[in-house]
Symmetry: C2
Subunit: 257 residues, 2 copies
């Protein structure tokens, strides 16, 4: 019997379809504990809840699976699991997802899915963020389940003890349409917003974020954005040292110490 | 007359004391436009508001200063400024802060202050996150104002056109007690949470995050955490490529393509 312990979370909320897909991936490899946000937490990044109490609720329990909803952010869920619920156990892997919508390029920074995966790696645990490049309610998760199982099997099989965080994005398509997998670096690109502007029923002006991604290096074949838009599963290993070492060298000429 | 345009935001909210301190820094260098969260947004990281309408309100207008409160996150505020309010102007600098509490080490990832500064750099604008290592309501901002002015003066004076994002943290103390400034890398360390657990008036169990920072390299003198705890202002240049290039080299041995 497989004794591994897999923690699953996401940012679309405990009741999302992508959560069921992630559970299917996780249960292939071990006992599964889900701690996921009660409500939709897309775009919540690495946010934590500092100034509000949080509520935990068990929503399902069966052989090999326990599910909890938590009223905080994706990162709060990971902290709740490691520092409270599972504090006396060894978690072998964190799966965050499967997200409705891709988290390639700079989205790694905005994404609650990747926020949770990164948080898992802070606990020294291999962590995989899984996202499907399809926002629709009828998204077909089959290819992402298949590739998720394959990549996670490889991660669990390796012998190294290095913490590892992977940002995995799967293109839209049936499993047989996926061209393969590519190891990538994070694409450089950014979002520009068009604020949707309207008036509410009481005449108050409101704004709604609605952006467009600008790929500043569409020709670069080693990026996740390229892989995804060419039909490949993209895999980017993620680390959290945000120091700009290149600038650091030059800063002595800029700042007066 | 100084024609520079400075955008100011923060995560403690438009009415915080640190905002007044940031305005004092900004006005030294140019016309100042504030777009800051209506409410406290500490720990909001790079979060964006995708599924709610946002409201903008002008709260102050005088010679050289316009202030707006916005009902979103710190990053939403920066987007509102660049993509709507100031879309026809050239912003010369973003100041985010002055935060009540330090944002050294991995806090760069959780911090709404740094989320906003990073967002500013996505618009190709030099951006400085300023934080004071003091959470108290009576915090003395004088040293952080003085060092903020000095560092920002240097940033504005440089000729390079490289985008630049700085994470500046100022220790507690009177200006004359600060030992100087150090250019640093981001400290490796992480938070471990102790969930404060209690019952609400109706007997529902609730949890409250209350963590402790674990400095995994207290002896490393080149980190921001070391500088700050030894009485120095820490300055870390920040970039957003989170690719783990070291792991990328080894991933071919882990994953089966």
């Amino acid at each position: 019997m497989n004794k591994r312990l897999i923690l699953v979370t996401n940012d679309d909320g405990v009741a999302s379809r992508g959560m069921e897909a992630a559970i299917e991936v996780a249960r292939t490899y071990g006992r599964t504990v889900v701690v996921a946000p009660e409500t939709m937490q897309s775009g919540m990044s690495q946010a934590i809840t500092m100034y509000n109490p949080l509520f935990l609720r068990q929503v399902r329990k069966e052989e090999g699976l326990e599910m909890y909803s938590f009223s905080g952010t994706p990162v709060d869920c990971v902290k709740m699991a490691f520092d409270y619920l599972l504090r006396d156990e060894k978690v072998d892997l964190v799966i965050s997802g499967i997200n409705h919508g891709s988290n390639s390029a700079v989205n790694v920074l905005y994404s609650g899915t990747m926020g949770a995966a990164i948080e898992g790696s802070f606990y020294g645990c291999p962590s995989v963020g899984l996202s499907l490049d399809d926002h629709s309610a009828e998204a077909d998760f089959e290819a992402s389940i298949e590739w998720g199982k394959r990549i996670i099997g490889d991660v669990l099989a390796r012998n190294e003890r290095l913490p590892l965080c992977l940002n995995v994005n799967v293109p839209v398509g049936r499993p047989e349409e996926i061209r393969g997998m590519r190891l990538c670096r994070q694409n450089r690109g950014f979002w520009r917003e068009e604020f949707f502007r309207h008036e509410d029923p009481r005449g108050r002006e409101y704004f709604w974020l609605t952006g467009a991604f600008v790929n500043s290096e569409p020709e670069a074949e080693d990026t996740d954005e390229w892989a995804l838009s060419h039909g490949y599963v993209s895999v980017v290993p993620v680390q959290v040292d945000m120091t700009d070492y290149e600038q650091l060298k030059h800063m002595k000429n800029v700042l007066h110490e």
